[in-house]
């Protein structure tokens, strides 16, 4: 985890991630069509094939003429259809995403409005918009991690990632990391006239607390903890094995076990102001023994 000193960005303040509406966002309708047509063709083949397998004759209508086992298998069919629809859309849009990456490889830096990187950034985000919405709408919690992996984000195994605003590009998350409710992990910030893109690295077994913002360029080393309601400034480095708190992060605390913190609390109790009261208690305890 080293970085070049000359690549330091100097922005005044942290804004937000987001994209403007462009005509390219109409790709969502294309994605919808591709998903729908694949769904239709597979269903047609599946229903006819199953019917042929079981009865030996062709199935020719979708009316109420079907046999009883068709109705028995209908729930499985519906759920399978939903999964089929989402996965075709995910695969199709991941293909477009890779094509866009080949046309203009994603770069880090600050880009002016109207430049090539600005345009391709917006296109990439509109491609990723609908599949991630669909994945989040499904009742399976692991499915949006699968989608993020399709879009080139490196997500390790057993990561919790489904309750936050997470950008699809330039993010690395290590194994066993846990992200809490309502977090923002931004790999780009948008201003009216320029856009800032920088890679975010989150190490192994980190904890990102609730209501936090991880701004672009942040490096969280292994076993680092980002406290509740705090945010990191651009290009900040969080050391491992410590708790980081502040807006922006300025205070670090050691991670303690319960016994250690209890011992420390007892030491605080024995300060001179309370010393007499404690001494009395100890005396009483000795007498009882």
């Amino acid at each position: 985890m080293e970085r070049d000193n000359y690549s330091k960005f100097e922005m005044d303040f942290i804004s937000t991630s987001g994209v403007y509406k462009t005509p390219f966002s109409l790709i969502i309708i294309v994605q919808l069509f591709v998903g729908g047509i694949v769904l239709f063709l597979v269903n047609l083949w599946f229903i006819n094939g199953l019917y042929y397998l079981l009865t030996g004759s062709d199935f020719y209508s979708f009316g109420l003429k079907a046999e009883w086992y068709y109705w028995l298998l209908l729930p499985l069919n519906i759920y399978g259809n939903i999964l089929l629809f989402t996965f075709t859309i995910i695969l199709f849009s991941a293909g477009i995403f890779k094509l866009l990456n080949k046309l203009s490889p994603p770069r880090e830096g600050i880009f002016e409005r109207g430049s090539k990187d600005w345009k391709y950034m917006h296109r990439r985000f509109w491609v990723a918009y609908f599949p991630i919405w669909l994945a989040r709408a499904l009742p399976l919690p692991w499915i949006d991690i699968v989608v993020y992996r399709f879009f080139g984000t490196r997500v390790g195994k057993s990561v919790v990632l489904y309750e936050g605003y997470v950008d699809p590009l330039f993010i690395e998350i290590g194994d066993f990391t846990m992200t809490s409710l309502n977090i923002c992990i931004f790999s780009h910030l948008i201003y009216q006239d320029k856009i800032l893109i920088k890679k975010v690295k989150i190490g192994k077994a980190c904890v990102v607390g609730p209501h936090t913002i991880v701004s672009p360029g942040t490096i969280m080393q292994d076993f680092a903890v980002l406290g509740v309601n705090s945010y990191t400034s651009i290009e900040q480095e969080l050391e491992g094995n410590l708790i980081h708190i502040g807006t922006p992060v300025s205070l670090t605390l050691p991670i303690q076990s319960v016994e250690e913190s209890k011992n420390k609390a007892e030491k605080v109790k024995l300060e001179p102001s309370n010393a007499e009261a404690n001494q009395n208690e100890i005396d009483l305890n000795l007498k009882e023994e």
Binding site: D12, F13, I14, S15, T16, S17, G18, V19, Y20, K21, S25, I28, I29, L32, F33, G35, G36, I37, F40, S61, F62, F125, W126, A128, Y129, F130, I132, W133, L134, R136, A137, Y162, E163, G164, Y165, V166, D167, P168, L181, N182, C184, F186, I190, Y191, Q192, H211, I213, S215, N229, Y231, T247
Partner: protein, 245 residues
């Protein structure tokens, strides 16, 4: 960028529990009335496209049908609630000011009724999967004017006493509240956001805030009541203060 599951709800306008049950019929009525055009549309779609020889056209156009269905529900819900809202506003004209948070206060009572009327269309717009005709469209019907080229779809904006200029960026998960509840007091003030302003992620604008042209509010900060953010300057903190440069 991508909204999590738990935040796909309606805007945070709490309805008083003392009258929530009383006006439940109004709320359910709006839902049923807004679904009537959808059922007419679906019926005509099935009648027109379903025949034993050409059923493939029915299935190929199904994605467009879904797209149309979502927008038909959204448009009909907004139109019906705007019509009811006009009747409610004839009974009592909404105005700014400090009020008591009791049901005897007519301003507080009618604010709650307005929220009940607006709840269905705002919920439908918030859970719309497509990026077109979202917040900006629905809030325009309720009298909130949002200028062109603004990013405002992943934030919560109050549906009255707010005006937002053109080319504004409103961050992820940030909230614009034109009402405040302070123990027994209820406050309603207008919020104005000028052209070219920027509001970061997870910000809160409290009632009465004025953001002048090109003023910037950094991420994770909130403003106090009736605060004025000056032109071409950066603010941050809890509550927001001018940044030293």
């Amino acid at each position: 960028m991508f909204q999590p599951v738990s935040l796909k709800g309606d805007s945070p306008s709490p309805i008083d529990e003392r009258i929530r049950g009383k006006y439940l019929i109004l709320y359910i009525g709006i839902i049923i009335l807004s679904l009537v055009p959808l059922s007419i549309f679906e019926y005509s779609y099935v009648i027109y496209f379903w025949s034993k020889t050409d059923y493939w056209l029915f299935f190929i156009l199904l994605p467009l049908n879904v797209l149309a269905a979502i927008y038909i529900v959204q448009f009909s819900a907004t139109l019906i609630s705007v019509l009811i809202l006009k009747i409610v506003n004839l009974l009592h004209v909404p105005k700014e000011g400090n009020f008591k948070r009791s049901l005897e206060d007519r301003d507080y009572l009618f604010w709650n009724i307005r929220n009940i009327v607006k709840k269905c269309p705002l919920y439908v717009t918030a859970s719309n999967p497509f990026p077109w005709f979202k917040n900006r469209f629905t809030l325009w019907f309720f009298g909130v004017k949002i200028g062109k080229k603004t990013i405002c779809d992943n934030s919560w904006i109050s549906s009255e006493f707010v005006s937002i200029g053109a080319n504004v960026i409103i961050g992820m998960n940030s909230t614009i509240l034109s009402f405040g509840i302070e123990q027994d007091n209820f406050i309603l003030r207008k919020i104005r956001v000028g052209n070219g302003a920027l509001i970061g992620a997870k910000c809160f604008l409290l009632p009465g805030t004025v953001m002048e042209q090109n003023s910037k509010l950094s991420a994770h900060s909130y403003t106090s009541y009736d605060q004025v953010l000056r032109e071409n300057s950066i603010y941050l903190g809890h509550p927001a203060k001018l940044k030293n440069t």
